[in-house]
C-alpha cells in the first residue's frame, strides 16, 4: 500500500514540475489537471473522502475551465 502511495506522490511531483516547465500554457493547464487528479486519490488514501470530493469537483472541472478562459483572454505562449 505504501509503495503505491509513494509512487503516486512521485507522479504528482513529476506533474507539478512539468506544469512549471512547459512553455505552452495549455500543456501546463493539462499537467495541473493531472496533479489535482492524483491529489484527490491521495486524500482518499488518507481516509478523507469529503475533502477528496471537494478536490475532485474543484480540481477536475472548475480550475481547468477557468484557466482555459483566462488564457483565452490573454496569451497562449509564455514569452
Amino acid at each position: 500500500m505504501i509503495l503505491i502511495v509513494s509512487l503516486l506522490v512521485l507522479l504528482m511531483l513529476v506533474g507539478a514540475v512539468a506544469a512549471c516547465a512547459f512553455k505552452d500554457l495549455l500543456s501546463a493547464i493539462i499537467a495541473a489537471a493531472l496533479v489535482s487528479l492524483i491529489a484527490a486519490v491521495l486524500f482518499y488514501f488518507l481516509q478523507a473522502p469529503d475533502v477528496a470530493m471537494a478536490e475532485a469537483a474543484v480540481g477536475a472541472a472548475l480550475t481547468t475551465a477557468i484557466f482555459v478562459v483566462a488564457i483565452r483572454r490573454t496569451n497562449r505562449y509564455e514569452q
Binding site: I2, A18, L37, A52, T64
Partner: protein, 120 residues
C-alpha cells in the same frame, strides 16, 4: 587468502538483498497492509501502472491534444481506481467520490477541446 574478494562481493550483494527484504517486510508489516489479498494488490498495481503510462505520454506527447488525451485516459483509470479503493476500505460512502469524478471530469476535456477549436 584465495576467494576473499569473491566472498566479500557476495556478502555485499547479500547485504543489499537482506536490506531490501527487511525494508519490504517493514512495509508489509504496517497495519493498513494486512487486510489486502493478492488479487486486490494485483488490481491496484495494474491501475497504477496505467496512470504511470499516461503520465509518461503526458511528458512525451509532441502536441497539446496528445497531452489532453493522456489526462482524459488517466481520469477514467482514476475513477475505476477510486471504486477499487472503496472496495478495499469497505465503506459505501467512498463511492460518492467516484460518482462526482464520473460526472465532472469530462467537463475539463470538453473545455480544452473547445479552446483548441477556437470556441468560447
Amino acid at each position: 587468502m584465495p576467494g576473499q574478494g569473491q566472498s566479500s562481493s557476495y556478502s555485499k550483494a547479500g547485504d543489499f538483498f537482506l536490506a531490501m527484504f527487511i525494508v519490504l517486510s517493514l512495509y508489509m508489516d504496517t497495519p493498513i497492509f494486512i487486510g489486502l489479498s493478492f488479487s486486490e494488490m494485483t488490481w491496484m498495481a495494474l491501475a497504477v501502472a496505467g496512470i504511470v503510462l499516461c503520465t509518461l505520454r503526458l511528458l512525451k506527447g509532441p502536441t497539446s491534444p496528445d497531452r489532453a488525451v493522456a489526462v482524459d485516459t488517466a481520469a477514467t483509470v482514476t475513477t475505476a481506481f477510486l471504486v477499487l479503493l472503496g472496495s478495499v476500505f469497505g465503506q459505501q460512502f467512498y463511492l460518492d467520490v467516484a460518482l462526482v469524478y464520473a460526472v465532472l471530469t469530462f467537463i475539463g476535456s470538453v473545455a480544452i477541446a473547445r479552446f483548441l477549436e477556437g470556441g468560447f
